[in-house]
Subunit: 348 residues, 2 copies
């Protein structure tokens, strides 16, 4: 059992936040072994224009200039085909769609896709990627809740793909067997990210444990098994997007009788050792390079890092997940705090 060298690990879905929290967590992309961050736009206010995205990118580069930040816009009625063309010229890579109200800062999310057809058409022409938070809003009358919100979304994915077959679409943070099976049936322009934590959690883990609560929620053990299985099979259109979503501990840990806690699991600082640990647990360690780099980079046409290829050594050595990080009184706790991983990052 030797160490593993991973080339150009890329996290194709990460929340780097803003303000002090951003200063605290952005360096953790590199700490977790990654040199590419596909950055989500759900700030307050959301990143709805090219100019906002470029300013955000600049602020991230001021924190850690060694990461390649791929920027996204937040799909909203403000967006125009002209803005899509401007975004493309400015190097922006994707547009993220949030259904209204289903996760952190998604109040401005979309309710119906059809009004966005001109945007999608422009994206298809320009080669921008559509990143879908694939859940429909809860609706008790229709028996829609957090458990089936993803499955109920899948017909929208299929429709979008049929309508815009050349538009690259990523179904983000898949959590169900249904999602995996649907993505498999679609064409090469449809990819799918899987988080590290959804390879580990099921509903039992977040029932009463708010640090494991995220959106989409982890589902049945059989769903988790389907996510593991598609990585084990080495399917080329499934790749890592950590959806690492830090919240201050106080927002994660303390519910009141009248208010719940923030949704999100924070994996950035331990990401590569964690993914190696998890893939090994279900016999898929051989697919580590493809899952954390090759598949995603191929889908996005980013087969190499921005400079020379970066090699990262994953050392087979037990390591305890480190304590809470803090900056100016803001504290964040990593997933699996205090637990032991079978790997740690090493130097080359």
């Amino acid at each position: 059992m030797t160490d593993i060298i991973v080339y150009d690990p890329a996290d194709f879905h990460v929340h780097l936040r803003q303000g002090q929290l951003s200063r605290l967590v952005t360096p953790h992309v590199a700490k977790g072994g990654f040199n590419l961050a596909y950055v989500m736009p759900n700030l307050k206010p959301p990143i709805t224009t090219t100019d906002l995205a470029l300013a955000y990118k600049q602020s991230l580069e001021a924190i850690d200039p060694n990461i390649e930040y791929l920027m996204t816009l937040y799909l909203s009625p403000e967006l125009t085909p002209d803005e899509i063309r401007k975004a493309k010229k400015a190097g922006i890579v994707g547009v993220k769609s949030y259904p209204r109200g289903v996760t952190t800062n998604s109040d401005g999310g979309i309710e119906s896709y059809e009004v966005y057809d001109p945007i999608f058409k422009a994206m298809e022409e320009e080669g921008l990627v559509l990143n879908l938070h694939g859940e429909v809003p809860s609706d008790p009358e229709s028996n829609i809740c957090v458990l089936n919100a993803e499955e109920k979304f899948l017909p929208h994915l299929v429709t979008l793909h049929r309508k815009f077959p050349k538009l690259r679409i990523v179904l983000e943070h898949a959590t169900t067997r249904a999602a995996v099976e649907t993505v498999k049936t679609l064409g090469d322009t449809v990819g799918c990210t899987i988080t590290a934590h959804h390879l580990s959690l099921s509903v039992d883990d977040w029932a009463g444990q708010s640090f494991h609560f995220c959106k989409p929620v982890a589902k049945y053990p059989s769903d988790r098994r389907a996510l593991q299985q598609v990585i084990y099979e080495g399917h080329p259109r499934f790749f890592l997007g950590s959806d690492s979503a830090p919240h201050p501990i106080v927002s994660k840990s303390t519910a009141t009788p009248t208010e719940g806690c923030a949704a999100g699991v924070y994996t950035s600082p331990i990401l590569l050792p964690l993914v190696a640990h998890l893939l090994e647990s279900f016999g898929a360690l051989d697919n580590l390079q493809a899952f954390v780099s090759g598949n995603g980079r191929r889908f996005y046409g980013r087969t190499r890092g921005k400079d020379s290829p970066k090699a990262v050594r994953v050392v087979r050595e037990k390591s305890k997940v480190e304590a809470v990080s803090e900056l100016d009184g803001i504290k964040v706790a990593p997933f699996w705090l205090g637990k032991e991983l079978n790997f740690r990052l090493g130097s080359l």
Copy 2:
């Protein structure tokens, strides 16, 4: 729209705890409008013998002598047919079965029912009631988790009923359509309790909100609808058991990255107005008397209160759910804190 008079309201499933917490919450049975409490035995140590049950009853009577406490034993290997006969003579009413590890203080719960056949036989002969926490333990390999643990338990209920057709069995705190439908198919010796909070909550409500987290967890909106529907229909074998389960706020509100929160929703202090409010919301207010008193009392053969019938006035008047209760530094928060009910308790 006039006030409602309810006679002899009876809560056929309640946790009155021990020590300081018991002193804080036991008076809330009367505060919530009830004069009968069917008392759960999951203390530390559990109430496994007649003597322990009688001592526990005495401690409850010392706190509030005006409530009729119906006592239960905790099903465990210590229990013998002789102890069942002794319990019957001492006025103990039921035996509660907890599957191992699924809820508060259930570490000593059962793993297989067959070894208890002699106990069930004695209970059948003596007329003791078997109260089932109807969930099987989670088992990822078999895809069993908190969401389907109740449905997977139902075959055990059916088997027990077939084997001991004269044994009165109560499936406690049903949360699924499957449970409702199964109980309906069984004979008159099988009853089923429904909590107030499961008439209100679905999985969306406890996702990230630990104050709404309880076992069994609230399920899909369609399951909630089935619970409401069976009350609306006025089915005579379904009745209120609040499963009111207080925990100190600190145990409910604060998760750490490595430890979750306690399971339980606390409804005792607002129980009768809350149930009236909920039943009205789905058009079943006409069945209030049957649901909170008649059905359960008939099933248990307790058609009247221990003294003269007690009439309780439920006044149609908006009331805000009261603040946290406190005793010696222990604080408990009621369900729906700060929300408005359409009813309050009144004097006669």
